[in-house]
Symmetry: D2
Subunit: 382 residues, 4 copies
């Protein structure tokens, strides 16, 4: 697919995700980690305007200079910005304004792409498309959070991505000790945090072919493991107590029955589906309760050719750290990944909300260990 | 005017205020004190549904039982409710839903009012209308806050209530010491906190015929009074420091020029207009800097026949306390005023945003001393 | 008594209060409102050094210039200071250092008082003695808090001021409506907030001759009034919930029996003693539960000649506001009272911890409505 | 050395460290991470009483049952405890009480050790001694913090451990890529987190023979690196801004000259000493500014035979994670290390405050990346 077609396809998909929303759903930010959908739509557009059109397209006229302030996310290098907690306080630009902004920038991009861009620009363009696809995944998380925390529990749509969740047969895959190679090979696109092909030594280990199910997790709840200190990290224990956690996110006990909000509304729990929306703390406690552990990201990468993955991001034991030889790109683009490499945990695989072209065995996703609004799950190792 | 006509007129006015808004403007809650406009529209409707239709109108079918949870404000007696800080996190019910809710309840009220209601119901109905008019005033405050804190500074409308601000000639009105009578007389509607006609003894005092102007206040700023401890209460000083206060709300210094957001956009300060959007702390500090003081609410009530009032609520020195003989009504309605009678300051008069029929010389408005998003001002006494 | 003798007597009394303490008891600050006893001993000494010796005693050599920073309390005018929350973080100066500091300043004061000071200095000296006596009362509060919140519940001493608590016969005193005079008369010492003799008009009222007892209050607890919203101010209700309040400070339910920490240790509740260590919120809720109210400070001042007072500070309904004509003294001394005249409640009378010469019918004590570590109680009015 | 002698020696050393303190210095807790010295003395004693004497010494009478509540640190399994932030709020038990407690338990231990204990008890005893030695190191940190944050900057003693800081010649040590072995070998004591001897693959790397000096770090400050975003992790940047960090802990700029508090008082900076008291964030930013990086804990362990270490704990890039095969011991002892294995960074080596018998090449120390009150430093790798 040529770049222009690719660009159009990716850009259109963001709107397809938002299509069932009401105007009001685009606006709110119920917790700091959730951004208003209109912000995602604006921010991804701002990325192309700021890093491609403004520096490279002669005669390009900025849509609105104030939007730089509104839609910058965290690029310290690019100037002041609305602080993250304030995103949900802005009624303007309206949703219609943001759609216009997208149309304006898309038209300019189309014009710009009449001529083949330089290699350097192409690289940023491809980064921009991958960036937008990452925000498409965040759109799913954030839309689910916005609707699933509304006291009316409105459905997103009856047909939706969560219908792709399913169970797999469980067995143990054995991997022999030895030196293995980790990291991205080849010339296809990948993020900078996957580069630095390098060797690691792994011990013998076994890893499950299947994800932990809701039925498994229900047992963990029923056997009172949320109240048994020994399975929890010290800070996990504090988190459980302070937030009165007793089940995954989106689980609600209604008259003694466990219900779960999914994108089609509040429904009884599907026992055979893989458990989702749990924090690293819960994933690790569950593993401890089972007498097992989570895999490291290296074990996962080596074993993943032998099992199915891609329903849910899988928590690993590994902290998010640079690979040997990692270095940040200069300028704003260099802020992409490196600056987050402390106090986060790596997740591997992909989820039902992930763009197909992000489904790479070397992809390193990362979240703080207390977060759970993304589509994630548990694969056990021992 | 008969009750039905009155009802229709009041209800319609709420929508007139909101008419220039975009859908998104109805949704956000940039600080805890500001409620989303759609919440005001729903809450005032809920009041009639809960206190009139449900208990008194046979066969009335509740619009949506969940709305009780969403639109209850603070009536502890009436059940659980969305906590105040979460009002801006709700994308549903949508604005269209709320307009439908209003239409549904208004239709039921019209049917209900075909027959003359009992005296008790009539009383609650009149309270409900006054309640809605109070929320109309809050709508003005909240809409101004939402637009005036947006980085794009959108105008509400070129024609708007702030154009009614104006200056008055300044002179000193003298009142002689003696016993005076305070509180509401007669049978017209008033709030319970105005009842309890009683005597107070006042000393000789003088009170200004005019409100303090922006020009006066600018001098206070320029003479550095925000940094001079001696004019401030101890907790006011903390407030100034913690919040880095250096001017009234909505004042912005742009390239050395003081601008002010009003409902028609960001404009240079109008020097002769009365200063507004200041906290009690600032009002008291200004008075101290002038070597004067604020009047008490009793002084104000006695002197007010001799000057014009009604542009801005006027901060008084008085704490908001019950009048002799005050007692709360039983049940939820009793929560209306009494439970706030601690740690708030009385404001007297009315503002450009106040319903004409609330403009009573005995009306007791009250806010915490640090708040300033309402239309308020300073009248000096000595 | 001459000034020198008076000075010695007052100064000695501070040490007498502290005499049963262990060194460690002088150091800690378990909550922000409680200051370490050694801080009180240093701060009261600093007052004499700063406001008398340094400006007036030629050749006086400051004990240690850093102590200004350590022992200034809140006088913004006098320079930087250790922030209040840090007082308990300082191990130095040691207790022995502070005793030396006292001895040094006392010696200098004795020398200074060889000659009759000027009228202006005498005024400050008397203020300084009254200031120290106020801190003596705070010493009692703070020592009780430090020991009474220690898990070992150590006694202060078997013989102590709390043994002076006792019951009084209850009857209703009637006062007729009329204009009365309020405020300090005569030339004896009083604080600036008592000045401004002025008239007030009072309605007919009745006031109890006795304080509410522990037995009365126990009934309030047993009848579940801590969980009945209607008796509480809105902010009181939040306070009760957030802090899980269910009894006065120092009450502990041990195996179903209500115990109370007093200065001789943890003891069963004495039912006939007046209830103490309750917040204004609790006092007002108790009055509401009884169908009565608290007196205003003016009612109290007029009626107080007809009942016994002085066991406990009595919460009034009145907010702490300036009397007509009140103005702050210039300079640091002017910070004494005026800057606190917002968001506090007046208490009248005196307590078992109050210096006898502070027991004036016009004395205006004040605390925030949520505080309760001082010796206070409830007198009802209706 | 036999166990009894060893016990006596270790126990005595804790008192030696505290010997120069004033009683007051034992009591305070200026920040949550710093415990009052008397708490350390009590807690280490409680360890022996709880895990050795009570379960194993027939007829042993607990010194004071309330001390379990006071001196438990974090062992969730062993019951309720004074919350960590409250340690500095307790004036009792007094310092003299704690010394008596130590003497009482030491006497009992001596009696108990007349007979050779079982292997299991011996293991706990050795753990207890290592535990006390870890608290001895914490005593140094906490004493320095208490004195070094006092506005009087009192010296601990003129002769003290910081005099052992010194510079080393700088060169680059090269290590070839390959599979290496990590973890504790042999039968000597080590902590459970060092166990699990395992292989890792390392790439070629170079590591410095010397620690970064104060002179080096001063250049980093002078070149404004604290204000250059690109060197900092995102959360590090927030930390720098929120806490207004501009130099290592204990550095004070006095009239344009950089001073540093060490245990002998406030002194000009010694340029050739290794820089200390910096957070992981600062260490990583410094390395980035130099165009280098911090070593991983595995690189450190392999290279450490070739350079001198032991002045300061050295921050590594590695997150604190379990080694392959790690499992927690059952019961309270199992809480020792494992529960902290999330969101902390590993430090390797030892410091001037470390017991000589803790100076193991495999020792894994760990702290949160924002902490800096321990003796730490920077060794660069590339």
């Amino acid at each position: 697919m040529d770049l222009k077609t690719q660009y159009k396809k990716v850009r259109k998909h963001s709107l397809t995700i938002c299509q069932p929303l009401q105007t009001e759903d685009y606006v709110v930010q119920p917790v700091v980690d959730v951004s208003p959908p209109k912000w995602h739509l604006g921010h991804t557009t701002w990325f192309f305007e700021t890093f491609i059109l403004k520096p490279n397209f002669k005669g390009y006229k900025e849509f609105n200079p104030n939007y730089n302030y509104v839609f910058n996310s965290y690029y310290e290098t690019v100037g002041a910005r609305v602080i993250r907690t304030d995103r949900g306080n802005l009624s303007r630009p309206t949703v219609a304004d943001v759609y216009q902004y997208r149309a304006y920038v898309d038209q300019a991009m189309e014009n710009f792409l009449h001529e083949e861009p330089s290699v350097a620009v192409k690289e940023i363009l491809i980064l921009g498309l991958n960036h937008e696809q990452q925000h498409q995944e965040l759109l799913w998380y954030d839309i689910k959070y916005i609707l699933g925390h509304n006291p009316l529990f409105p459905a997103y749509a009856d047909e939706n991505i969560e219908q792709n969740l399913h169970s797999s047969p469980q067995n143990w895959i054995k991997i022999a000790a030895g030196v293995y190679e980790i990291g991205h090979k080849g010339t296809d696109f990948c993020f900078d945090n996957e580069l630095g092909l390098h060797k690691v030594y792994l011990n013998d280990f076994e890893i499950s072919s299947a994800l932990v199910t809701n039925a498994d997790y229900l047992e963990f709840i029923k056997e009172n493991a949320y109240h048994e200190f020994k399975h929890w990290y010290a800070e996990a224990w504090d988190w459980v107590k302070v937030n009165a956690i007793k089940a995954p996110l989106y689980w609600y006990e209604v008259d003694g029955v466990w219900m779960r909000y999914d994108l089609s509304g509040l429904k009884p729990i599907k026992l055979n589906d893989p458990v989702s929306h749990i924090s690293f703390y819960e994933a690790a406690a569950f593993a401890s309760w089972k007498g097992m552990r989570l895999p490291t990201e290296f074990e996962w990468e080596i074993a993943a050719t032998q099992f199915n993955w891609g329903q849910l991001w899988e928590w690993t034991e590994s902290a998010y750290l640079p690979y040997p030889g990692f270095s940040k790109a200069p300028g704003a683009i260099g802020e992409y990944n490196g600056k987050f490499m402390v106090n986060q945990k790596v997740l591997r695989g992909a989820s039902i909300a992930t763009s197909p072209n992000h489904q790479r065995i070397t992809y390193r996703n990362f979240f703080h260990p207390n977060l759970r609004w993304h589509y994630n799950g548990i694969r056990l190792a021992k």
